[in-house]
């Protein structure tokens, strides 16, 4: 069954004004999310994952220091062209977002009940009483015990895991069609992480909600995502179905990321592979391929000209931004044969 496309981002650019001029944090990103699909967005810190997510909801202040370019089509409507008041109706209602750090994402001076019902009252024509009852239901849904009592508590009276559940409850309050989760489990310990992922996965199936899951944890991606986009320095460098990406990474950066995961059955005496160097800063973006300075395969072409994100012919739906993807893949296959 072919699912409908929910969100289609094309050539999105987000520029921030700074003292030294504009920096482009997100540089020409295109991707799409289908109904009921979970799209993973991975990459190192500082490569523009969060900015991309926040740009979809236009959370950066355009009047102040931000400029968006390109198109973000949600159910056929370009969000970047909408007046702010319309945008406010979409936020939290059609598209909602869960943030990285639950401890600081809830307003400390209002009860969690107040913060959940606020989302309901903003977007739905219901009474305060109804909103209150619904908030209790939502807390139950995300697995908070004795919600009637919890609803009157303040964020600081809850643990981190509970706070993130409250954030999810707020995010789901109006049954959005698209949920953007920006590293929702990074600040939580592993058991809580599993529970939160479980809740999100369940709701994704039950409500047919599209999810953009931003993370730097490839393990989580393998577990829950249908497709993955790998970001590097404000660009997507590879996009593929999760299974393909893990079996056959096309971009040297992706293979670098995969190799840097410690393995249970790995050789302990061998050093863990890491991607050498660090992400260059946004105001000193290299000409040519942005990954070239850290890439073991880089040649003159890579240093001079930036490759486009192009479909990879052997793999349906896969896209890669690399001049030498085929060559690298062949070499690796040969290597495998010779070692086997």
């Amino acid at each position: 069954m072919q699912n409908e496309t929910l969100l289609e981002v094309s050539n999105l650019k987000t520029h921030f004004g700074s003292d030294t001029g504009f920096v482009t944090a997100v540089d020409g990103i295109s991707f799409h999310v289908e109904e009921g699909e979970i799209l993973g967005v991975v990459g190192e810190s500082g490569c523009g994952k969060s900015v991309t997510a926040e740009s979809i909801l236009r959370l950066h202040d355009e009047k102040f220091n931000t400029m968006y370019e390109g198109e973000i089509k949600y159910k056929g409507e370009n969000l970047l062209k909408l007046p702010l008041s319309k945008m406010e109706n979409i936020r939290g209602n059609e598209i909602s977002m869960i943030f990285q750090d639950p401890m600081s994402s809830l307003n400390p001076v209002y009860t969690i009940g107040n913060q959940i019902t606020e989302a309901l009252l903003l977007h739905q024509d219901i009474s305060k009483k109804e909103a209150h009852n619904k908030a209790i239901e939502l807390l139950e849904l995300v697995g908070i015990p004795s919600p009637e009592k919890r609803i009157t508590e303040y964020p600081h009276e809850l643990s981190g895991g509970m706070q993130q559940r409250v954030m999810i409850a707020i995010g789901l309050a109006c049954q959005p069609s698209l949920l953007i989760a920006d590293e929702p489990t990074t600040a939580l310990d592993v058991t809580i992480q599993a529970q939160i992922l479980d809740i999100m996965l369940r709701l994704n199936k039950e409500l047919k909600m599209g999810v953009i899951f931003i993370t730097h944890d490839l393990g989580v991606v393998a577990e829950i995502c249908d497709r993955v986009a790998v970001m590097y320095l404000g660009q997507i460098v590879e996009e593929a179905r999760t299974i393909d990406l893990f079996e056959q990474p096309l971009h040297p950066y992706t293979s670098g990321l995969l190799e840097s995961i410690p393995k249970m059955d790995g050789d302990r005496s061998k050093k863990l592979n890491v991607v050498k160097g660090s992400v260059p800063s946004l105001d000193s973006i290299p000409q040519g391929c942005r990954f070239a300075s850290r890439c073991p395969f880089a040649d003159e072409l890579c240093l001079k000209e930036m490759p486009e994100l192009r479909p990879f012919k052997d793999e349906e739906g896969s896209k890669v931004r690399c001049w030498h993807a085929e060559k690298i893949l062949n070499e690796r296959k040969k290597e495998h044969v010779s070692t086997d």
Partner: protein, 316 residues
């Protein structure tokens, strides 16, 4: 809550003792003798010595202190050398106009400053923002006596809308009371307003960078309630601190404005007492103002708890 207040009051006692010693020493070290001031320039050394003895000024300084502080603990601040009346009575008489003036000045300051601060923060970086902040800087820089004189010149003399000076107690009616107070209150509150406006602006701007503002925006909260509901209450704590700290300076700052407008408040009492070297009154007033400061701080701390649940004192 009650036990917290009791604790705070008890912990204020050492502070008051230290203040009392310091003020007592400073006054007795400064040159000038109340007896010679009272008796005038013609007085003979014998007359002065006689008066000193009757006032207890010839005793060693620690004895003087102990007899004074013993009285203070019983609520007796001593007797004015000059007016021959209990110090508590003169303070009680002069404090009413000063408190009235300070509260009115504070209200005016808040009414002007908070909206300006909020607006400036909302329009940060714009022309409106910078002009409001320049205005605030001006308000902070202008001395209150100068502003007082300019206001009198414009509204009192030129336009004739408001009385030039004087004071009418509240018992004569609220309207007439305020009519006499409005110019002094504006001149006294201007610095205050400027300070609070700047604090409000920076405090709100700081809060606007917080994650919970971003998540509220992602929820679909409109800009208006984002600032008034989500940001303002969080921004209130530093604003409240400024208000609390400076309300005390309003009372002390009233000295100048009271002189300009000829208001019989605590300021005039202090100035007159210093001229007369009326030690008992000076000590009494300073001690009284210290108590007022401590009391204000306590109120501010209680307000903190009402605004921010994290500092609430009596939850479980």
């Amino acid at each position: 809550m009650l036990s917290y207040i009791m604790k705070r009051i008890l912990s204020a006692i050492p502070v008051l003792l230290v203040v009392s010693i310091v003020i007592f020493l400073i006054i007795h070290i400064t040159p000038g003798n109340p007896a010679s001031v009272i008796l005038g320039e013609e007085a003979t050394p014998e007359q002065i010595a006689e008066l000193e003895e009757s006032l207890g000024l010839n005793l060693p300084i620690h004895q003087q202190y102990f007899s004074w502080i013993a009285g203070v603990f019983q609520g007796d601040l001593g007797t004015s050398y000059f007016m021959k009346a209990p110090v508590t009575e003169s303070i009680a008489n002069s404090i009413v106009p000063t408190i009235s003036l300070a509260i009115f000045a504070q209200i005016i300051a808040l009414l002007i400053a908070i909206p300006i601060g909020v607006l400036a923060a909302n329009k940060r970086g714009s022309f409106a923002d910078s002009s409001m902040m320049v205005f605030a800087l001006l308000g902070m820089s202008i001395p209150s006596f100068l502003l007082a004189l300019l206001l009198v010149l414009l509204f009192g003399v030129q336009l004739g809308w408001l009385p030039v000076a004087g004071f009418r107690p509240l018992s004569e009616g609220l309207l007439i009371h305020l009519q006499y107070l409005i110019l002094p209150a504006i001149s006294l509150g201007a610095i205050q307003a400027a300070l609070i406006a700047r604090m409000t602006r920076s405090s709100i701007l700081e809060v606007l960078n917080m994650n919970y503002i971003k998540s509220a925006r992602a929820k679909g909260v409109k800009n208006f309630s984002l600032i008034l509901k989500h940001a303002f209450r969080n921004a209130l704590l530093p604003i409240l601190t400024v208000v609390g700290q400076t309300f005390g300076t309003l009372i002390t700052g009233a000295v100048v404005v009271e002189t300009v407008f000829n208001i019989p408040g605590i300021g005039q009492l202090v100035i007159n007492s210093i001229e007369r070297r009326d030690f008992a009154v000076i000590q009494g007033v300073v001690l009284f103002i210290t108590v007022l400061y401590i009391f204000l701080n306590l109120i501010i701390d209680i307000l903190y708890g009402m605004i921010d649940p994290r500092v609430r004192l009596d939850r479980k």
